[in-house]
C-alpha cells in the first residue's frame, strides 16, 4: 500500500499550493504599493492646474496691461487707462508671487527653471510700464507711442510668447509623463500577469500531482475498503456495527444470509430488534440486559467482559437462534468511541465444534488403545519368538540328553562287554533302556500336544465319576508318593461327581498335576485334592449371564510355589517354572497338554500360590455336560 507515501505527497503539494497563493498575494501587494507610490510621486507633477491658472492669469494680466496701454495711446482719458494698467500690473505681481509660492512648495525642477527665467521678464515689464506712464504724465503722446512700440509692446508680446511656449512644453512634458506612467503601469501589469500565469501553472501542477496522489490514495482506500469488506464478508461469524445510540450502521453478508433480512431492513434499525442476551436464569431472551444501557455495554466491552456471551439472534422468521456474542469498541478518530462491533457466532457451531473435539478425543483414545494393543501384540510376538528359541534350546537339550546316554552306553557296551562284569553290562543296558523310554515319552508328548493344538485329537466323551478317576491316578503314582512319604488326601462332595468327559484325557490331567505336585513337594509333605460345585458362563462374553453347572477340582501341594509373574506362563509350551526347572524329568510340555485337554472340555485351568502356607494350587473347572458353544 502507498497510502502513507501518497498522503505525504499531498501534504507537500498542499504546502506548495499555500506557498504559491502566499507568493501571489505578496506580488499583488507589492505591485499595488509600487503603482500607488509611483502615481503619488507624479501626482504633483501631473496636477498642473495652479500653474495653468497662473500662466493664464499672467497672460490675462499682460493682456490687460497691453489693452490698457493701447487704449491710453488712442484715448485721452489717461487716468482711467492708467488705473487699468496699474491694476493689471498689481495682478501680475500677485500672480507671480503666488506662482513662486507654489513652485517653491512643489520643488519641481522644471517649474523652477521656468520661474527663474520668467522673473527678470516680469521686472522688466514693470519698469517699462513706469516709463510708459511717465511719458503720458509728461503729455508726450508721441514719445509714449514710440516707447510702447519699441519697448513695452515688445516685452508684452515676449511674455505672451513665453507663456504660450511654456504651455506647449508643459503639455509635451505632461504627455511624456503620461506615457511613462502608462508604460510603468503596463510593466507592473505584465509582471503581474506573468506572476499570475506562473501561479496558474504552479497551481495546475500542484492540482494535477495532488489529484493523482489523491486518486491513488482513493484507489488505495478503495482497495483497503474492498479488502476489509471482503474480509468482513467472508467471516463465518455475523458482524453487527452499531452506533452507541443503538442504531445499526453496518452488518456483514453473513448476518443477511443467517437471519434472512435484507440489508436495508437491518441498517438503520435498533440493535435490540435483532439481538438479546440470554439470561442465566431462564432460557428466554431478556431485553433488559446488556443492550438496554449502551453506556453500560461500552463499559463492559472496555472491561473485556463481553466475550462469548450467550445471546439470541432473532431471525426474520421469528426464530430465536442461540448465539455467542463478543464485543469491541470501534474508535473513529479522537475521543470517545461512538460505535460498537459485535461479532456473533452461532452457538450450534460451537456445539458442533465441541462434538468434533469430543469425537477427535475418542478417536485419539481408540488409536491409543489400538496402539497399546498392537504394542502388546508385538511384545507377545517377541515373547513368542523368545519362547520358540528357548523351546528349541530345551528340545535340543531334552533330545540330546537321552541320546547321549544311549550312544555313550551302547558304545561302551560294544567296546567293553568282553572285559566288563555282568552287573556293569546290565547297568549299561538299563541306562540305554531308561533313556530310550524317556526319549519316547518326549516324542509322544510332542505328538500329543500338536494333535490337541491342531484339533486332530478327538475327545471320546462319556459320563464319568471324576472321583473314581482321581483315585485311579493316585493309585498309579502311589509309588512315587511313598518314596517321599507324601500324604495324598481327597475331599469329595456328598453328591455325585459325574461329568461328561474323555476319561483317558482327564486322567492324564490328574496324572500330570499330581506328578508335578509330588515332584516339587518336600519329603513328608501333603497333597490335598478337593472337589467343588461350580458353574461356567456359557456365552462367549463375560457379560452373558447364562451359565452351566460345572465341577471344580483343586490340587493343593506344599511345594516351593511359583513366582507370581510365572503363574500364567507356566502353562505355555516348554516353559518350566524357574524354581522347578531341572533336568530331572519334565519336558515342559505337561501343563501345556493339560491346558489343551481342559480347553477341549470347554473348561479352564489356572494356578495360584497358597495364601495360608507354602506351595501352590492348581485348579480346573469343567462343565458337567458339554454344550454347543
Amino acid at each position: 500500500m502507498f497510502l502513507m507515501k501518497e498522503i505525504g505527497v499531498v501534504q507537500r503539494l498542499s504546502f506548495l499550493a499555500w506557498f504559491n497563493l502566499l507568493f501571489l498575494l505578496l506580488i499583488a501587494v507589492l505591485g499595488t504599493v509600487l503603482l500607488i507610490s509611483f502615481e503619488k510621486k507624479y501626482a504633483t507633477a501631473l496636477d498642473l492646474s495652479d500653474q495653468q491658472r497662473f500662466i493664464e492669469k499672467i497672460d490675462g494680466s499682460v493682456a490687460h496691461i497691453n489693452e490698457a496701454a493701447l487704449q491710453l495711446l488712442v484715448d485721452d482719458d489717461d487716468d482711467e487707462n492708467m488705473q487699468k494698467i496699474l491694476l493689471a500690473w498689481d495682478e501680475l505681481l500677485l500672480g507671480w508671487d503666488y506662482f513662486k509660492q507654489i513652485v517653491g512648495k512643489s520643488g519641481n525642477p522644471v517649474d523652477l527653471s521656468f520661474a527663474q527665467e520668467y522673473e527678470p521678464v516680469i521686472h522688466t515689464i514693470g519698469r517699462s510700464i513706469v516709463e510708459f506712464v511717465l511719458f503720458f504724465r509728461q503729455e508726450d503722446q508721441a514719445g509714449a507711442h514710440e516707447y510702447y512700440d519699441r519697448v513695452l509692446g515688445r516685452w508684452i508680446s515676449r511674455v505672451t510668447t513665453f507663456t504660450a511656449q511654456s504651455i506647449y512644453f508643459k503639455e509635451l512634458e505632461l504627455e511624456r509623463q503620461g506615457k511613462l506612467i502608462e508604460e510603468y503601469k503596463n510593466r507592473v501589469l505584465y509582471s503581474g500577469a506573468g506572476v499570475l500565469l506562473f501561479s496558474v501553472f504552479v497551481n495546475l501542477y500542484v492540482n494535477r500531482r495532488s489529484n493523482n496522489a489523491v486518486k491513488r490514495v482513493i484507489a488505495d482506500l478503495d482497495d483497503s475498503k474492498h479488502y476489509v469488506e471482503t474480509v468482513i464478508g467472508s467471516l463465518s461469524e455475523m458482524l453487527f456495527i452499531f452506533h452507541s445510540n443503538g442504531v445499526v450502521t453496518e452488518v456483514n453478508d453473513t448476518v443477511l444470509t443467517s437471519l434472512g433480512y435484507k440489508k436495508n431492513e437491518i441498517v438503520g434499525a435498533m440493535i435490540t430488534d435483532f439481538l438479546a442476551e440470554a439470561t442465566a436464569a431462564e432460557d428466554t431472551a431478556d431485553e433488559d440486559t446488556i443492550f438496554s444501557d449502551i453506556l453500560n455495554l461500552k463499559t463492559r466491552i472496555s472491561k473485556d467482559s463481553v466475550n462469548e456471551v450467550n445471546a439470541y439472534c432473532v431471525a426474520k422468521s421469528g426464530e430465536k437462534i442461540p448465539v455467542l456474542i463478543s464485543g469491541s469498541l470501534l474508535k473513529e478518530g479522537q475521543g470517545e468511541p461512538e460505535s460498537i462491533i459485535l461479532s456473533v457466532r452461532d452457538a450450534k457451531d460451537s456445539r458442533l465444534l465441541a462434538e468434533l473435539e469430543d469425537s477427535t478425543k475418542n478417536l485419539q483414545k481408540r488409536v491409543d488403545e489400538q496402539t497399546a494393543d498392537l504394542t502388546k501384540a508385538k511384545n507377545e510376538a517377541e515373547k513368542a519368538n523368545r519362547l520358540k528359541s528357548e523351546f528349541l534350546s530345551n528340545m535340543s537339550h531334552e533330545l540330546r540328553t537321552p541320546m547321549h546316554f544311549i550312544m555313550g552306553f551302547s558304545k561302551r557296551g560294544v567296546k567293553r562287554t568282553a572285559e566288563s562284569s555282568v552287573s556293569a553290562t546290565v547297568e549299561r543296558f538299563q541306562a540305554i533302556n531308561d533313556s530310550s523310554e524317556r526319549l519316547l515319552t518326549l516324542v509322544n508328548d510332542i505328538l500329543d500336544l500338536s494333535k490337541l493344538e491342531s484339533g486332530i485329537a478327538t475327545l471320546d466323551f462319556a459320563m464319568q465319576d471324576l472321583h473314581d478317576l482321581v483315585e485311579a491316578t493316585i493309585k498309579s503314582v502311589s509309588v512315587l508318593a511313598d518314596e517321599k512319604n507324601l500324604v495324598i488326601s481327597v475331599e469329595s462332595l456328598p453328591g455325585d461327581m459325574q461329568a461328561f468327559v474323555d476319561a483317558e484325557k482327564i486322567e492324564r490331567v490328574f496324572m500330570n498335576l499330581l506328578s508335578n505336585a509330588i515332584k516339587f513337594s518336600p519329603n513328608e509333605g501333603s497333597i490335598i485334592i478337593t472337589f467343588q460345585e461350580s458353574s461356567l458362563s456359557v456365552g462367549r462374553r463375560v457379560s452373558d449371564m447364562e451359565t452351566t453347572p460345572a465341577l471344580s477340582v483343586s490340587i493343593v501341594d506344599s511345594g516351593v510355589g511359583i513366582p507370581d509373574d510365572e503363574l500364567d506362563t507356566i502353562f505355555d509350551k516348554f516353559v518350566q517354572s524357574s524354581k522347578t526347572k531341572t533336568g530331572a524329568g519334565g519336558t515342559g510340555l505337561g501343563l501345556a497338554i493339560c491346558t489343551e485337554i481342559i480347553r477341549g472340555h470347554q473348561g479352564k485351568l489356572w494356578a495360584k500360590n497358597n495364601t495360608d502356607g507354602p506351595g501352590s494350587t492348581f485348579n480346573f473347572t469343567i462343565p458337567r455336560r458339554q454344550y454347543e458353544s
Binding site: 534350546s393 530345551n394 535340543s396 537339550h397 531334552e398 540330546r400 540328553t401 541320546m403 547321549h404 546316554f405 550312544m407 555313550g408 552306553f409 558304545k411 561302551r412 567296546k415 556293569a424 547297568e427 549299561r428 541306562a431 531308561d434 533313556s435 522347578t580 526347572k581 531341572t582 533336568g583 530331572a584
Partner: protein, 126 residues
C-alpha cells in the same frame, strides 16, 4: 598319585556314564549332583582336585554360576574346568570359554573324545 576329577551333573545317568568313561584312566572320581554341592566340595577340598567336569544346565546354581565363582576365587581358579552341555549353541560355548572354561564338550560325545581332552588337560596342569 592318581589325579582327582570332580564330576558335576544333576542327571544320575550322566554321572554314571562319566564314571564309566573315566574308568579307562586311573583317576579318582568325586561326584556332585548339583552346582551348590559342587561349590561346597571345591571350597572344602580344592587343593585335592585336579580337574572339574561341569554340566551347564542344572537347577539352582547352574554350571556357569559355578564357573564364575571358581574364577573369582584366587586359589580355586587355578583348577581347570571342562564344561559340558546337551544344549550347546555357539553363543553358549563362546560365553563358557570367555568365562574361563578350559574346554567345552557337547553331548552326545564319545569316551575317546572325553579321555583325550581329560588327559591333555591333566598333562598340561601336572
Amino acid at each position: 598319585m592318581n589325579p582327582r576329577i570332580l564330576i558335576v551333573d544333576d542327571e544320575p545317568d550322566c554321572l554314571f556314564l562319566l564314571k564309566d568313561f573315566l574308568s579307562d584312566i586311573d583317576a579318582e572320581i568325586i561326584e556332585a549332583r548339583n552346582g551348590v554341592e559342587a561349590w561346597d566340595i571345591l571350597l572344602k577340598s580344592h587343593t585335592e582336585i585336579d580337574l572339574v567336569l561341569l554340566d551347564r544346565m542344572m537347577p539352582e546354581l547352574d554350571g556357569m554360576g559355578v564357573l564364575r565363582k571358581v574364577k573369582e576365587h584366587p586359589e580355586i581358579s587355578k583348577i581347570p574346568i571342562i564344561m559340558q552341555t546337551a544344549a550347546a549353541s555357539d553363543e553358549d560355548i563362546k560365553s563358557g570359554l570367555a568365562a574361563g572354561a578350559y574346554g567345552y564338550l557337547e553331548k552326545p560325545y564319545d569316551d575317546e573324545k572325553l579321555i583325550d581332552l581329560v588327559t591333555t588337560v591333566l598333562a598340561a596342569h601336572r
